[in-house]
């Protein structure tokens, strides 16, 4: 049963030359869209060099990338959630909560296992598990309870934030000194001249890229974010995939927390404040659409680096006060999104 519908091939062929010509010009446009965030990053870097040549110093670059790793790793998880049409506002509070629990757990394990690698590994494992569970809760309540992700994660954000404050009794939880010494290299150590957090960031980005673009899970995220009904009618387990995006987000938050804790060795109610907004900003700057259906991992990576870079450049110059960091970030987010929308409008027929 192959021939009857293909009875008009001549029209197809006759139309082909125009197809290719137009295809070429559109390809150029799309390239600009894809590379837009990279171009912006380069421009920002150039500005940095012009303002202060120290910007290009190896120490400065390494420091900047290391700092962007937290937001970057969280933002890669957020890329999946947002692409599938969801939103997770709880990530910052979740990070603080995980950090708090992790510190308490490791401190109490010192008595049993001593301040050794076992203690650290157990803490790390627990925090991954905790992230997975927290994501699972967000996902289940959103999908099974049929409540908007905004509401659910706003709620869990409040819960985690207050839980960590409660655990710290309003103050700060501090990691045992002996444990801290063992755990330190996870943040401060480096391999082949590149710090561990940057390696983790890179690994998460590569895995995320493959997951989003070359697996069924990723493709289903796009489909669900574009139109949930179509996904359901395409035999996709919509609720399961959506829950999985939140669980992936939870794991990313846990990973970010694992490399964050050895930096300061403490957690409090103020840990991770506004991380959720920075993560979402990084995702959006990278070209992922907030309404879902379109996501880009490398864009997110660039977005996260850009956000840190803005702060870094302001540190290196006296022209603009460091306190205006948020202002500059805000302007750049709005401009980035505006430029993306403008290119959309042109590309549309």
């Amino acid at each position: 049963m192959s021939s009857v519908m293909a009875n008009n091939k001549s029209t197809n062929k006759a139309a082909n030359p125009t197809t290719q010509k137009k295809g070429f010009s559109i390809a150029l446009k799309i390239d600009l869209k894809t590379w837009g965030p990279f171009v912006a990053l380069l421009a920002l870097a150039l500005l940095g060099v012009l303002i202060n040549p120290a910007f290009l110093g190896l120490d400065n670059l390494s420091n900047m990338l290391t700092r962007s790793a937290f937001i970057g790793i969280i933002a890669i998880g957020a890329t999946f959630v947002i692409t599938a049409g969801g939103l997770d506002l709880s990530v910052g509070a979740m990070a603080a909560f995980i950090a708090g629990v992790m510190i308490i757990l490791m401190n109490s394990l010192v008595e049993q296992f001593g301040a050794g690698v076992t203690t650290v590994l157990l803490g790390v494992g627990a925090s991954l598990l905790l992230g997975l569970c927290a994501g699972f809760i967000n996902g289940m309540v959103t999908t099974k309870g049929k409540i908007e992700a905004f509401i659910v994660t706003l709620g869990t954000m409040g819960i985690y934030r207050s839980l960590v404050t409660y655990l710290a009794d309003g103050g700060t939880l501090t990691l045992d000194w002996a444990v801290r010494d063992i755990y330190r290299p996870v943040y401060y150590g480096s391999f082949l001249g590149i710090t561990i957090p940057v390696w983790v960031f890179l690994a998460v980005a590569i895995i995320g890229y493959i997951l989003l673009n070359y697996t069924r899970f990723g493709r289903y995220c796009f489909a669900i974010g574009s139109n949930e009904k179509v996904a359901e009618y395409s035999a996709i387990h919509v609720d399961r995939i959506k829950t999985m995006t939140y669980m992936l987000q939870g794991v990313c938050v846990a990973l970010a927390t694992i490399i964050y804790v050895p930096r300061l060795g403490s957690a409090s109610g103020a840990t991770g404040v506004l991380w959720e907004l920075e993560a979402i900003a990084a995702v959006i700057i990278g070209g992922t659409m907030l309404k879902g259906g379109h996501g880009r991992i490398w864009g997110t990576v660039v977005g996260a680096i850009m956000l840190t870079m803005i702060g870094n450049i302001l540190n290196l110059t006296d022209a603009i006060s460091n306190y205006l960091n948020g202002t500059v970030q805000g302007i750049i987010i709005i401009v980035a999104v505006y430029l993306q929308r403008a290119s959309w409008r042109k590309a549309a027929p």
Binding site: M1, S2, V4, M5, A6, N7, N8, K9, T11, N12, A15, T18, T19, K22, G23, I26, I210, N213, Y214, T215, R216, R219, Y220, F222, A223, S226, N227, K229, V230, A231, E232, Y233, S234, A235, I236, H237, G293, H294, P349
Partner: protein, 503 residues
């Protein structure tokens, strides 16, 4: 002459869809505009109502040339269009919708009381019991249509354009609508009525204009015309040629799918049917009779409160569409834009979405996907005229073929097809009919839900008819004709209707 259009042409890009159309509307007449899907009816009325501008040609109202730049300007002259897809603010109340954009005020504040009273008056005139305070979201489609009409009447309508107003109405509602059109006619309103239901046209039209492929084929008084003649004018050929001859089913053909006593709360009451190998089982009935609900419940897309599904005689539990796919059952939804295709996704990914597993090992193999897509283009004759990237850019007919390619990617044994030819051109219809025949020839079984009587009669071996959630009967052989199907669809004949309705 109230409104007249002269030599209207309209092109979209290189594609001309209207060629030199003349149309005259007189006060107090019902003018029917006929034509197949894609004939250009909607484009023409959008030009008259100011939504689109003609590429060339003139529209004049009361003898004055008009160049409307928006529908608002046309409305100011009393030319109002009621859309096929209703355009109401769902979260607002009925009265708020009726006065939307022209709210009555007392000083700075809204004059709610007067608006409510006027809404009540208008709704009473329409003989509908819609509450002016009800939220539009909570109304049935037919009630929403009444609200649209009420909205038009309060705007001192002189020309009322209705685009397929009865598509979603029950028979009773249709007669209320026709009585209303009669009263509007007496008030001197010109009604331009688009439909391809010829029996309705016979009932109410004074004047009829037929379009085919963007050309005016005929225009003249309705009196003395027969609907067969109009049908021929619309299609341009004898309709019987549209359908390929049916395949013969051996008498001992096994039953491949059976549904027993299916109950879907609020939609289907105890429906049972069987499907044999190589058979086309048609499902007839009016919109809302429960056909889609029944079959989606069989597929696991909707919850059922009772009932059993048997595949090749074995009971199976289908909890979602994935289970149905495992049973080699494919479903072509009637809502290809809302449920069928991911419009902003590229074509290739759309084709492989249902059966993505087959293109993974374990990562997605883009080359394999591209191969599948090229095969789909060939097999289903999908025509890519421009640099088409996303499904949204395809025409309705090509979207339908793309959806067909997607659904067929699982190589099903049973295909459930829901309204396969809604909103697509005659040529594609023809191809789809032949495709269904090919399927049955290859031993597949097809369930065809259709509101087009011709399709049911032309393609089905048996026709199951539903009315108000009850499967009233299954017609075979000589019984499959328009008259019989209508009788079962309206509950005049058949089993169980009375007890279900009044019980």
């Amino acid at each position: 002459m109230l409104l007249s259009a002269r030599q209207i042409c309209r092109s979209f890009g290189e594609n001309q869809v209207l060629f030199d159309i003349d149309l005259d509307l007189q006060a107090g007449e019902v003018h029917a505009l006929l034509g197949e899907n894609g004939a250009g009816k909607s484009t023409l009325v959008k030009i008259l109502a100011g939504y689109l501008r003609p590429t060339s040609g003139e529209v004049s109202v009361d003898g004055q040339h008009q160049h409307y730049r928006s529908s608002g300007e046309a409305e100011a002259d009393g030319i109002v269009m009621i859309h096929q897809e209703l355009a109401l603010a769902e979260q607002l109340s009925v009265e708020e919708n009726i006065f939307l954009g022209r709210e009555l005020r007392r000083g700075l504040l809204l004059d709610r009381r007067t608006m409510r009273e006027r809404s009540k008056e208008v709704l009473a005139e329409l003989e509908t019991d819609v509450d002016p305070r009800a939220r539009v979201k909570d109304l049935s489609t037919s009630d929403q249509q009444m609200v649209e009409i009420a909205k038009a009447i309060t705007r001192d309508v002189r020309v009322l354009i209705m685009d397929e107003p009865t598509a979603t109405l029950t028979e009773n509602e249709v007669s209320v609508l026709f009585a209303l059109i009669g009263r509007l006619r007496q008030r001197g309103v010109a009604v331009l009525y688009i439909s391809h239901k010829l029996r309705e046209i016979e009932q109410i039209a004074d004047h009829v204009t037929v379009l085919r492929d963007g050309h005016l084929v005929d225009s003249g008084p309705m009196a003395g015309r027969r609907k067969e003649e109009l049908a021929r004018l619309m299609v341009g050929r004898e309709i019987t040629e549209m359908y390929p001859p049916r395949t013969d089913i051996p008498t001992d053909a096994p039953v491949v799918l059976e549904a027993r006593d299916m109950v879907v709360p609020g939609a289907v009451k105890q429906a049972s049917f069987t499907l044999r190998r190589g058979e086309v089982l048609g499902f007839g009935g009016v919109v809302g009779a429960g056909r889609t609900a029944l079959l989606e419940a069989v597929l696991g897309l909707r919850g059922k409160s009772a009932g059993q599904v048997l595949r090749n005689g074995q009971p199976v539990v289908l909890k979602n569409l994935r289970d149905a796919v495992h049973q080699r059952i494919a479903y072509l939804t009637e809502d290809r834009k809302g449920k069928g295709l991911v419009l902003n996704m590229d074509l290739r990914s759309n084709v492989t979405l249902l059966n993505l597993r087959a293109h993974c090992h374990p990562l997605i193999d883009r080359r394999l996907e591209e191969q599948a897509f090229q095969q789909a283009i060939q097999r289903f004759d999908i025509r890519l005229r421009t640099a088409t990237r996303t499904a949204a850019e395809l025409s309705g007919g090509n979207q339908q073929k793309l959806l067909l390619a997607k659904v067929m990617s699982i190589d099903p044994e049973i295909v459930i097809i829901n309204e396969p030819t809604r909103g697509i051109d005659v040529g594609t219809k023809h191809q789809i009919y032949h495709f269904i025949r090919e399927l049955t020839e290859a031993g597949c079984s097809v369930i065809l839900i259709s509101s087009e009587m011709g399709e049911l009669i032309g393609l089905s071996h048996r026709v199951a008819v539903m009315c108000a959630g009850v499967l009233t009967g299954v017609l075979e052989g000589e019984q499959i004709n328009e008259h019989e199907i209508m009788q079962y669809a309206s509950g005049i004949k058949g089993v169980g209707v009375d007890e279900q309705r009044y019980g």
